[in-house]
């Protein structure tokens, strides 16, 4: 009996304490409602340089993209370091929802019309749902409308088709550093030589370092294991800056390819950043280029009035 009395005594101050603590912090009364915090802005835009990033445009957002690749810088002043020799891609991307985007474009080099769909399957997050990476799937199709080199051959429309499929695996490591790995498959219905494989497997790696709110440094590299593409062949490497000014993103870079379509920059890049011209002279295949992105919101998001 005495024991329970003693226990009861203990309860009084305890109860009071609990109530007191609750008064001090009202929000804690509701308990911690665990939410999922999705990582945003792993990259500034939907492209790294030539290839895609894991980023999508938002639902109802139209992204108008103009890209240029110039001639080799080695051409010197006569070509204004390559500026006289420009190839252009103009494209439109659209966000169907926050996970799915589609786009079309037309590139001048080999007169390529391309179209793609990109789906964000996994989103990097912490909290209720922990996901270490973002995973996107990309499927891309190209139609080369340039005249066939051999007009005598029985050329079919299907010979103009090229395909690319990618897994985009990305992660943002803190505020300043993001990394992405891109296993890639390119299918060519028609190849230039018998030594060229119809199916080419490549792996890409890309990263960015955020220098300030609006400026980042980007790098993108695609490696094609040997034996799939006839020589001369070079893996493409791009290095550049990205400057964002509200509705625009400017990407300024140097690359060793003039292609802006997947089958082009992965299987047709001919010159390395630095190579020997055969006569013992060191040459550079580097060229200047830029992408400009301008977004337009066509549809207001749900729940916004």
């Amino acid at each position: 009996m005495k024991k329970t009395n003693f226990l009861l005594l203990l309860f009084f101050p305890l109860n009071a304490l609990v109530l007191h603590a609750q008064n001090d912090d009202l929000l804690s009364l509701l308990g911690d409602e665990l939410t999922t915090d999705y990582v945003i802005a792993t990259f500034k835009t939907t492209r790294i340089v030539n290839g895609h990033s894991i980023e999508n445009v938002g639902e109802g957002v139209l992204d108008f993209k103009i890209s240029h690749r110039f001639g080799p810088v080695r051409n010197g002043l006569y070509d204004v370091f390559g500026l006289d020799d420009a190839t252009i891609r103009i494209g439109l991307d659209y966000g169907i929802n926050d996970r799915l985007m589609v786009g079309v474009g037309r590139g001048g080099r080999e007169k390529v019309i391309d179209g793609f769909a990109k789906y964000k399957l996994l989103r990097q997050s912490t909290g209720k749902r922990n996901m270490p990476i973002t995973l996107s799937l990309l499927t891309n199709m190209e139609v080369k409308t340039v005249r066939f080199a051999d007009q005598e051959r029985d050329n079919k429309f299907t010979d103009r088709l090229f395909f690319a499929n990618q897994l985009l695996i990305g992660r943002k490591f803190g505020e300043h550093f993001s990394l992405q790995i891109m296993p890639t498959h390119v299918h060519r219905n028609l190849t230039t030589t018998r030594d060229d494989k119809n199916d080419v497997f490549a792996v890409g790696a890309a990263g960015r370092i955020k220098l300030s709110r609006r400026v980042t440094v980007n790098a993108e590299y695609y490696y094609v294991p040997e034996g799939q593409v006839a020589t001369p062949y070079a893996n493409c490497l791009a290095l550049g800056f990205e400057i964002e000014t509200g509705g625009h993103v400017f990407q300024l870079h140097f690359t060793n390819t003039s292609f802006m379509n997947y089958s082009g920059f992965i299987t047709q890049t001919a010159e390395d950043w630095f190579f020997n011209n055969g006569g013992g002279k060191l040459m550079s295949g580097a060229r200047f280029g830029f992408n400009i992105s301008r977004v337009f919101t066509l549809k207001k998001p749900k729940g916004f009035e």
Partner: protein
Amino acid sequence: MQKHLFILAALFVFAAPTFAQKYFTRDGKVKFFSDASMEKIEAVNKSATAVLDVATGKMEWKVLIKGFLFEKALMQEHFNENYLESSKYPNATFKGEITNLSEIDLSKDGTYKAKVKGKMNIHNVEKDMETAGTIKVNGNAITLHSEFFVKCSDHSIKIEAGKVANIANDIKVTVDATLNPMK
């Protein structure tokens, strides 16, 4: 022994009314409006958490920064990434109290003018603030409404020189929330 259990039970029964004195919501609406010379920006968050202790007049608010919805997706990204740094500072909070509680009868239906004073924490910078609003009592629900201004410069939210025409320093905030008794 049974007597003691009865006392214990009674203690819990008496404690119960103190719980009912607290009202809360998880879907309070917080809107803000930036009226700069070149651009007007609006954002809304419909999942603000608020708790009000009607006995003491104390109230607390918590708003998830990433929960603000903008008209333009890119604007929302820049708001989180460049200005509010929401991955570092995920919430804005307000802890304060109604200072004129004696003039308000929360047990009676009606609309009352209220004064609130407390500390606002945005972008991990705390700032004292005072504002006025209305409290509407309707049966079991208490509806709060207030409008006030928050200065970006008070919370170390830096607007670079080139964006002064696009983003105002004085941001008008409107809060609306209907609170129900906590069980």
